[in-house]
């Protein structure tokens, strides 16, 4: 069980602020969604949460403690990161690719243990890509590719999973499949953070949302409180249609707002 806390995190590149005083708490057992328009700082925040870049100011705590450089390898066993638009630079077969998720658990000589083997099998199975094990990423469809990369992240068997736009390029079937899987991971006790563009998926699947706009946290909390008309108008500049299906909400971006109409 891992709790990730961002405290007053700011990041600047060349005087341009990417993140500005962001406070966020990612709790175990919850699916946290990061939403916001393009360039709002979602990926930057996810990378800071994953200790892939240090915050310019502020700090990130893992179970209340900061991470020193020499502790980074140990954190790799506890926190998995799924990068955006992932690709493989070499045509490794899928099972070898998924097995890369076991690197943090292996010694310098990289011998795979029986535990590593079964973790890879579990990951292939949970992500539903067992039948693709002898293929290479380049021969798969976009949806299958994302499932394989997700299996790689699951193979770490970490306490936290950070996923950057895992459903962005997927068809509706695969989108639902990946979101179901992420929610199941959270229900199993993991802290899961996902960057999303689809507001309906965010409303329906996430326990907590953080709405970023120009590097600042515009709203944070339960989906129904974050996805208000006012918040969406000022972050995205859109008006949405809303509805309910069997007790679950959906939102449809309907029209752009002119500059004067944005709060």
């Amino acid at each position: 069980m891992m709790r990730i806390t961002a405290e007053a995190v700011s990041v600047e590149i060349g005087g341009k602020p990417l993140l500005d005083g962001v406070d966020l708490e990612v709790r175990p057992g919850e699916l946290t969604g990061l939403i916001g328009p393009n360039g709002a700082g979602k990926t930057t925040l996810l990378r800071v949460l994953g200790a892939l870049r240090p915050p310019g100011s502020g700090r990130v705590l893992y179970d209340g403690k900061t991470i020193a450089r020499r502790e980074r390898p140990a954190l790799a066993r506890r926190l998995a990161y799924l990068a955006q638009g992932g690709e493989a630079h070499w045509p490794l077969r899928v099972e070898r690719l998924v097995a890369l998720g076991r690197l943090p658990h292996q010694g310098p000589l990289g011998r795979a243990s029986a535990e590593d083997q079964s973790a890879v099998e579990r990951a292939l199975q949970r992500s539903g890509v067992e039948h693709l094990r002898a293929r290479t990423l380049a021969t798969l469809s976009g949806g299958e590719r994302m499932q394989v990369l997700l299996a790689r992240a699951l193979a770490v068997e970490a306490e936290a999973l950070l996923a950057d736009e895992p459903v962005a390029a997927l068809d509706p079937h695969h989108q639902l499949r990946v979101m179901d899987l992420l929610r199941a991971e959270a229900r199993a006790g993991k802290a899961v953070v996902v960057v999303l563009h689809d507001l309906s998926l965010a409303a329906r699947f996430c326990d907590q949302l953080a709405l970023l706009h120009r590097g600042r946290l515009l709203a944070q909390g339960r989906p129904e409180s974050v996805l208000g008309d006012r918040e969406l108008a000022s972050a995205y500049g859109v008006r949405v249609l809303r509805g309910m299906e069997r007790g679950e909400p959906f939102l449809l971006p309907w029209e752009r707002l002119e500059a004067g109409e944005r709060p």
Partner: protein
């Protein structure tokens, strides 16, 4: 299609098989030359402690040549595989990207200036310095997530620059013979080297090999990009340092003692990659053995070919390697167009 071509797991025989091949070629290299040498008899005499013209020939001429073939070949093969894993591109090779020519310039500077006469270590140090600068420059020019195009262009620039500097040295040569000596040396050869050469560069190369072989895990992780590698606990700064320093030591020392022998680091990993399941870490030891085997074989070839003056080793590897480079480039042209 359930099985993709060339990504099957590494067969268990690969490394022992390559090792045997290297040993076989090593002894062939001891036995072959302009003077016939009864190898088993001479070796037996050597073990009995006898001294004859044959044992002298073996120890002073054949052994250094075979040892350098092994060491230089392994260094070039290993460095090629490591650079390709580092830059995530099958075209990254010490010769193609300018590391060899920069190392050659460093070595030329060391012996042309005469420093290497009084201080022999200056020769490999010059090579290492040149190689180090070129890898560093390439890393800065081509950037982190470098495309094939940017790597090749950076290589062209580095090659052009080091060629210009070497020409500058040739320009200042006091007489045509000194210039000719440098030109012939740059062509790359293992002929007429002594055990002193071996002793000078072997420890440096071994240190480079250790650094490169220790990068395997990191190279595997880099398959999925830098962020994913970092999330898997790989310290990217430390990994880059190991790879740049390891390549500089291995290639710099190899070039300092043998001149510029190109394309070994391109051809060998290219041939072996399908046999190791495309995995960068497993490619490292296989490419070291494969590089040693290829260079020993090529050096046998130049000795056996009935050409007037002996062909330079670097000329042969380039004649074989350049077409393979073009073939690879042709295959990657779609990626280049992007």
């Amino acid at each position: 299609m359930t099985e993709s071509r060339g990504n099957a797991p590494m067969p268990a025989w690969l490394l022992p098989g390559l090792g045997l091949l290297v040993i076989l070629l090593f002894f062939l290299s001891l036995g072959v030359g302009t003077m016939p040498l009864p190898l088993t008899g001479t070796l037996a005499a050597l073990f009995r402690g006898e001294s004859s013209l044959e044992t002298l020939l073996l120890l002073e001429l054949r052994l250094p040549r075979a040892l350098l073939g092994l060491l230089v070949g392994a260094s070039l093969g290993l460095a090629g595989a490591a650079m390709q894993g580092f830059l995530r591109n099958p075209l990254a090779e010490p010769g193609v990207i300018g590391v060899s020519s920069c190392a050659a310039f460093g070595a030329v500077l060391a012996f042309y200036s005469g420093i290497s006469l009084t201080f022999p270590l200056a020769l490999p140090l010059g090579g290492i310095g040149g190689a180090f600068l070129s890898v560093l420059l390439l890393h800065l020019l081509a950037g982190r997530e470098a495309s094939t195009l940017s790597i090749i262009l950076a290589g062209v620039a580095i090659n052009a620059f080091s060629a210009a500097l070497t020409s500058l040295v040739l320009n200042f040569a006091p007489n045509p013979y000194a210039a000719l000596e440098i030109i012939f040396w740059i062509m790359g050869s293992l002929a007429d080297r002594s055990m002193e050469h071996v002793q000078l560069v072997a420890p440096i190369m071994l240190l480079g090999w250790l650094l490169l072989l220790a990068s395997g895990r990191g190279l595997d992780a880099l398959t999925l990009g830098e962020d994913t590698a970092a999330s898997l606990g790989i310290d990217l700064g430390y990994l880059r340092l190991k790879l740049i320093l390891g390549t500089a030591l291995a290639v710099g020392a190899a070039v300092a003692v043998s001149g510029a022998i190109g394309f070994v680091g391109l051809v060998v990993p290219h041939l072996l990659r399908p046999l190791v399941g495309q995995q960068p870490a497993r490619l490292l030891p296989a490419s070291a053995l494969g590089g040693a085997a290829l260079l020993l074989a090529a050096d046998l070839l130049v000795r056996l070919l009935p050409t007037g003056p002996e062909l330079k080793l670097g000329v042969v590897t380039a004649l074989v390697g350049a077409p393979i480079f073009l073939l690879l480039l042709h295959r990657l042209r779609r990626e280049m167009a992007e």
